[in-house]
């Protein structure tokens, strides 16, 4: 399968199976799109010699096995019982009341409360025990808002650090915070212990304040941005992201990314909200053309800022063409319910944070060691090889068939692609490829 497209004023071809990427001229674009009939009609304006020359270049790449590469017949990945990444929902409560929160403003449709240190330690023990020979393990402090249970975060890290070496593990911590209560002590601790820090800010002040209110209904932007900037100034080169959400109210989200960059943040992710049709903030299908334009506009701005003091990373435009993920990872994606699980404050294990609070998806509990393999096996079978619609898509090796929770929530079936998210994923991939081509020309 070869996907041809236009982006940033140029034309490109992606050879899906090999992952080879080409910038092509107009003639080659047309030849690749209609390989059989290319002597009449629209081709009549090209000299015959040019057509033959372009065809020869296509044939050369085909012979080298990097264009029109035949579809790979993948062996379906099998469940191996290993868990190496854990989302620790350290708090089922939050100091914000964001209008679009998938986690029911922290409560996950249940009782508000924090995880005890005892449960957190059991979760660490459980992860290490289940990780087999894997050395690199990941723990993400999530919620709710994890700083509401900061003391347990600190003690959990201390506990994990005290046993990781003797168990032959290297634990990488991430924390996702709204930064409302972020203080100097936390900043110091995060910089010392957290491999990655994700700060939630939605972009422009009015956009952020309209959806991210405090518990008391007040605007949160000024406090959050001041705290987040203080953090940024001390973070150095270590990994962090300012991560926001855009909704139907701000489909012109490019302005939000740039607003965050103008504030001084250089690692940014802005994600489309995922909400059921009919919700006032849900992205509407008729907004897709505008949103796609915004992704391209953002790609242009991204390139303009390259090499300046406002150079930034946009999470979805990171595309590693030299050292990207291996084929196996591209088949299994995020590994929710398998190598990746979430643990709620009472110790219940779920396939991922988005399933927390859904009793029908409970896998077990870290406190009593219970672990039913039925759900993990179901999730292991939910890989790219088992999604016929996705296998026909040019973006399949970049999203691995998409988010299981989104598919389930929006389509009622984990194996069915959530089309709206697919359209945006495809556009982001095209923009990423175009950016890579421009970068190659620049440096």
């Amino acid at each position: 399968m070869v996907h041809t497209f236009s982006c940033l004023g140029s034309r490109f071809a992606l050879d899906v199976e090999s992952g080879s990427v080409y910038e092509i001229d107009d003639l080659t674009y047309r030849l690749l799109d209609s390989p059989l009939d290319n002597t009449e009609g629209e081709f009549s304006r090209y000299p015959k010699s040019e057509i033959e020359e372009a065809k020869a270049e296509i044939e050369k790449l085909k012979k080298e096995g990097v264009l029109f590469t035949p579809e790979t017949l993948h062996e379906p990945p099998v469940y191996n019982g290993i868990i190496k990444a854990m989302c620790l929902n350290i708090s089922h409560d939050c100091n914000l009341r964001c209008e679009y929160c998938f986690a029911d403003t922290g409560a996950y449709s249940g009782r508000r409360g924090n995880m005890s240190l005892e449960v957190a330690k059991k979760a660490i023990d459980f992860l290490i025990e289940k990780s087999g020979t894997r050395r690199n393990l990941e723990i993400d402090f999530f919620g709710g808002e994890p700083t509401l249970n900061y003391d347990v975060v600190v003690k959990t890290v201390e506990y994990a650090r005290s046993i990781e070496k003797e168990r032959g593990k290297n634990i990488r911590f991430t924390i996702t915070t709204n930064a409302l209560w972020l203080n100097d002590e936390m900043i110091d601790f995060f910089n010392r212990e957290m491999y990655n820090v994700v700060l939630s800010i939605d972009g422009r002040k009015d956009v952020h304040n309209s959806v991210r209110k405090t518990k008391g209904g007040k605007d949160s932007y000024d406090v959050i941005v001041a705290n987040a900037l203080k953090f940024r100034k001390t973070r150095g080169d270590k990994q962090y992201y300012v991560r926001g959400t855009f909704t139907s109210r701000n489909p012109d989200f490019c302005a939000d990314v740039l607003a965050l960059n103008d504030l001084g943040f250089d690692r940014i992710s802005i994600e489309p909200v995922v909400l059921p049709e009919g919700h006032p903030l849900a992205i509407k299908e008729e907004q897709l053309p505008l949103i796609k334009e915004q992704y391209e506009l953002l790609a242009e701005e991204y390139l303009k800022r390259l090499g300046t003091d406002k150079q930034f990373i946009f999470f979805h435009y990171m595309l590693d063409l030299d050292g990207g993920p291996c084929e196996k990872k591209r088949l299994v994606g995020c590994s929710a319910g398998n190598e990746y699980v979430a643990v709620s404050p009472d110790g219940s294990i779920f396939p991922c944070h988005q399933f927390d609070g859904k009793p029908e998806y409970k896998i077990g509990n870290v406190t009593d060691g219970s672990f039913d393999k039925t759900i993990p096996v179901l999730f292991a079978e939910n890989n790219l090889t088992q999604k016929p619609e996705c296998l026909k898509c040019f973006a399949k090796y970049y999203c691995s068939g998409g988010c299981a929770a989104n598919s389930l929530n929006m389509c009622g079936d984990m194996k069915k692609p959530y089309k709206l998210a697919c359209e945006l994923m495809k556009k982001r991939l095209e923009c990423s490829i175009a950016i890579k081509a421009r970068e190659k020309n620049l440096f």
Partner: protein, 57 residues
């Protein structure tokens, strides 16, 4: 080539021994609501690259 400019070839790593599982889980990076895998890096190639650079220095 005149009509086709190569940006990258064979970027889907199919080498033997892949699938070590030591790389970062995508949901631990920054998404949490989508499943972006293409922007993740291979841990082995990252280590090899760092090692190579250190040796060169």
């Amino acid at each position: 080539m005149k009509h086709i400019k190569v940006i990258a070839v064979s970027t889907i790593c199919k080498d033997e021994g892949i699938g070590c599982g030591e790389c970062q889980t995508s949901c631990q990076s920054a998404c949490k609501t989508s499943c972006t895998v293409g922007n993740q890096s291979c841990e082995q190639r990252r280590i090899n690259h760092t090692f190579k650079n250190t040796e060169e220095k």
